[in-house]
Amino acid sequence: MQRSARDWLDRIHALPLNGPVRIMNVCGGHERSITTAGLRGVLPPQVELIPGPGCPVCICPEEAIYAAIQHGLRDEAIVVAYGDMLRVPVNVPKDEVRTLEEARALGADIRPVASPLEAAAIARDNPDRPVVFLAAGFETTTAPLAALLQEGAPDNLLLVMAGRLTWPAVAMLLDAETPGFDALIAPGHVSAVMGADEWLFVPEKHKLPAAVAGFGPESLLAAFYSVIRQKLEGQAFLDNCYPEVVRPEGNPAARRMLAASFAVDDAPWRGVGSIPASGYHLKGELRRHDVREHFPDHGAEQRRRAGEMPPGCDCARVVLGKIYPTACKLYGQPCTPRSPIGPCMVSDEGACRIWWSAGTRKAS
């Protein structure tokens, strides 16, 4: 019998907390549930919930977005991208095109898609034109792309590969001198694909409590209870509070398809820099779908502030859980979902957008 959210909350309040416990989540979906359900307001004040690297739109390399814009404008390709990506600005002088949306307004053929299947359908419907897909996302989004490639994608579907693995960012934070958190909530659907066991390194190598959580308040509160209790008892293990969906080994078919399609290599995260073994790259004969085999590599062009966050924007520290969104000096003024400056305010999974939508404003 599943316990209720109320029940988990009572159990958390009954724990003998003797100091702060900082719990990081690495999934925009988790952050959204936490914020929507108002969990920060009902937990003991010692419990801090930190949104960490959980937003693939936020860390999608600036160079990749710039390249996609140029493929639309200069190479006259059809460019398809997940909806959020259309509004993320790149760092260019004021008179140049900053977003895919602006490129579309100038006549470039830019189309939002919600699935690799839609990207493939557009390629099939336009066999005489190159269709460039800005393939951003974490494992949950990259695995479906792998499935598409394994099933057979049209030859004119070309990829700007921006897929990233989640765990290496957590490993990077934990390898740093001051990780900034005491326990980890592992992402539910990333773990459904890759397996809960992927997070064993957190308790085993770094001696930090960890728990996989789903997206309902019951599952999240169960995971908070687990990691707080582990910390109080001086333990560190991996708990699975989402066993109905997440298995230790994940989805083996999906992992096979990922392995058959992509090699994993060091890769840049916007505003963060290169993270070891964190990026998916096309491998073997699938490299024929690499856009750089067909067009100039616009991403490698020399530009001022290439790869960085927009000037003045603190998204990089928000993404790494170093500061809360409200600590960015642009939060709310001038950066809002209506006229976003940084990617964290664009994406539905960005902590800034989630906090703003829930009504969180700067303390004045």
């Binding site: 739109v57 919600a114 699935s115 690799p116 974490f138 479906p144 109905e244 989805n251 994406s347 999974e349």
Partner: protein, 90 residues
């Protein structure tokens, strides 16, 4: 949230949160599936090791089923999404 926000709402969607759908019909690796009255074609290609049947519930992510899920879990997820969307609209 591929189904709700991308298609019905403001043209955006969430990339790391899948939504549960019920399978209505299967043709090869393609299935017709529904969530709260909205129907879509989805791919079952990633569930080759554990093929679902008509009537089963799956979590769908960017058009692909990534895992089976119970009816009870599907229903509680739908309630959660309604709550999140109500909040985003506020």
């Amino acid at each position: 949230m591929w189904l709700y926000s991308s298609d019905i709402r403001h043209g955006t969607f969430t990339m790391c949160l899948g939504i549960p759908m019920q399978i209505l019909g299967i043709d090869g690796y393609t299935a017709r599936a529904a969530a709260k009255g909205v129907e879509r074609d989805i791919s079952l290609f990633m569930l080759q090791d554990d093929t679902p049947a008509i009537g089963d519930y799956v979590i769908v992510h960017v058009g692909y089923a990534i895992q089976k899920v119970s009816e009870e879990d599907a229903r509680s997820s739908w309630e959660l999404f309604d709550q999140i969307l109500a909040e985003s609209d506020a």
